[in-house]
C-alpha cells in the first residue's frame, strides 16, 4: 500500500481524517 504522506493531498486528507477522529475521541472522553 502506498504511503499517503508521499502525496501532498494524501497528507492533507490524512490530517483532516485525524482531526475528525481526535475530535470525536475527545468529545466522547469528555462525555459531551
Amino acid at each position: 500500500m502506498k504511503n499517503p504522506l508521499d502525496s501532498l493531498w494524501g497528507t492533507v486528507i490524512s490530517g483532516l481524517v485525524l482531526t475528525v477522529i481526535l475530535y470525536w475521541v475527545v468529545k466522547l472522553a469528555l462525555g459531551s
Binding site: V12, T19, L22, K27
Partner: protein, 170 residues
C-alpha cells in the same frame, strides 16, 4: 491594569501566534512549494539556488520559530501546564491535545528534520547513501508535521471560550 496578566495572557499569546504563523507558514512553504519546486528543478538542474540560498534561511526561521512557539505556549499554560499535558481537568483536555500535537511536531523539527537537513544541504559531511536516507527521513517528518498541523490548529482554536463550548460543550 494587571500587568502580570497582560504579559502572561496578552503578550505571550501574541508571541505564540506570531511565532506559530512563521513556523507553520514555513512548514507549508516546504511542503506545498519547495518540494514540488525542487522536483521540477531537478529536470533542468536549476535547484542549486533554492538549496543554497533559500532552504538554509527558511530552515533557520523555521526551527527557531518552532521553539519560540512552544515556549510561549508553555508560558501561557503556566500553572496549568500539567493540567493540560496530563488531562487533569476537563477544560484543559482540548488544549492538552493541541499541546501534545505541537510537542510531537517540535520534536520532529529538532530531532528528525534539522539534523537530516544539515546532511542534505552539506552543512555536515555525509556520504551519498547517508544523504539519500536523510532526505527520506526529513521528508516524512515534514509531511507528518503537515498532517499533524491540521488537528493541532483545530485543537488550538477549539480550546478556549465560546469556541470550546460550541465544539465540546464545556
Amino acid at each position: 491594569m494587571d500587568w502580570g496578566a497582560f504579559i502572561h495572557y496578552g503578550l505571550m499569546r501574541w508571541l505564540h501566534i506570531l511565532a506559530g504563523v512563521m513556523w507553520i507558514g514555513l512548514l507549508y512553504y516546504f511542503n506545498f512549494v519547495q518540494v514540488a519546486a525542487l522536483k521540477a528543478a531537478a529536470t533542468d538542474n536549476t535547484g542549486a539556488g533554492i538549496t543554497k540560498h533559500v532552504a538554509p534561511r527558511a530552515l533557520l526561521f523555521f526551527r527557531w520559530a518552532a521553539l519560540v512557539t512552544w515556549l510561549a505556549g508553555a508560558t501561557i499554560l503556566g500553572a496549568h501546564f500539567f493540567d493540560a499535558f496530563f488531562f487533569l481537568q476537563k477544560v484543559y483536555v482540548p488544549i492538552g491535545v493541541g499541546a501534545w500535537l505541537g510537542t510531537i511536531m517540535l520534536f520532529n523539527v529538532w530531532v528528525l528534520i534539522w539534523p537530516n537537513q544539515k546532511k542534505i544541504l552539506g552543512i555536515v559531511q555525509a556520504s551519498d547513501e547517508e544523504k539519500a536516507k536523510a532526505r527520506r527521513v526529513a521528508f516524512l517528518a515534514s509531511r507528518t508535521n503537515t498532517m499533524l498541523s491540521l488537528p493541532m490548529l483545530f485543537f488550538m482554536i477549539a480550546s478556549g471560550g465560546v469556541f470550546r463550548t460550541s465544539f465540546f460543550g464545556i
